[in-house]
Amino acid sequence: MNKTVLIVGVIIVAVVIFVLFAGLGKDPSIIDSPLIGKPAPPFALKAVGSGETIDLAALRGKPVVLNFWATWCGPCYEEHPTLVANARNLPNVQFVGVVFNDEEDKIMRFLAQRGTAYPTLLDTNGKTAIAYGVGGVPETYFINPAGTIVAKYAGPLSTEELQANLAKALR
């Protein structure tokens, strides 16, 4: 009886240790998106400044880098120059910013001070962010020319990370 209890105990402890080690080093805030491999949820949102409505469907045929951000998000300040520089260097890729829960004048000020190279759209009630499963900002979705989401990146992007994910959209 004692031997059986010992064996069962050792098995349980081994399983627990395995589970803990398997999760070691993983960032619990990074969650795989169920939208990868699925069509990007369609939207048409108003661009900050111009008032023009940009429809995602109209961007088909080009890879799209869809970046969710906000002026109240610290890491978004860090990421912005990377996105602008890459948008200028990659004319065949359509960069789109989507700002949620923010004020248009604050966004305009942010863009005026830091520059921009692509449209920034306003998601006033956060519905677009919810449909994309945005957990926090910044978060970036990479959409291939056929309109399928091929990658998601949570956190501020570096040029290397941006290009590695973009490569998936160009395959």
Partner: protein, 161 residues
Amino acid sequence: MMAMLVLLAFLQVKVPDAAQIIGPPAGTPVTGAQLERRTMEISSELRCPVCQGLAIGDSPSIMAANMKAQVRELLERGYTETQILSYFEKSYGQFVLLKPKFQGVNALVWILPVLALAIGFILVMSKAKKLETAPAKASPTPEEPTDDPYLARVREMVDKP
């Protein structure tokens, strides 16, 4: 003219719609006090993606408020609880459900506690049965004669009425 253009642009704005993701509503629209109650009930089943283990109904974050507003709107449109949970699951994955589904590895969350309880119960019962069937504690063996004066003295003291 400018105002008309702005209005036109505004009218063209469209956000991803639930109908495209989960189809038409399968229930009846909910209104009034019931709407508030159902919104809170469903909000308590959805995890806030920016908080640590909080339901959207308990979180003060903007993201949770947006999600709660979405729950309310879907209820008003006649979507059922299953459809609403499925809507959020399709964009956030099973992570968003505070009550994990009984499928795949998640099934272990439901099975293991019951299994552990059953094993514990069986162990306790078998131990109890053993104790029950074990022979009653034998009465003290008859004293053997001893030459030890101390033992003799102890026996004498114990036996003394």
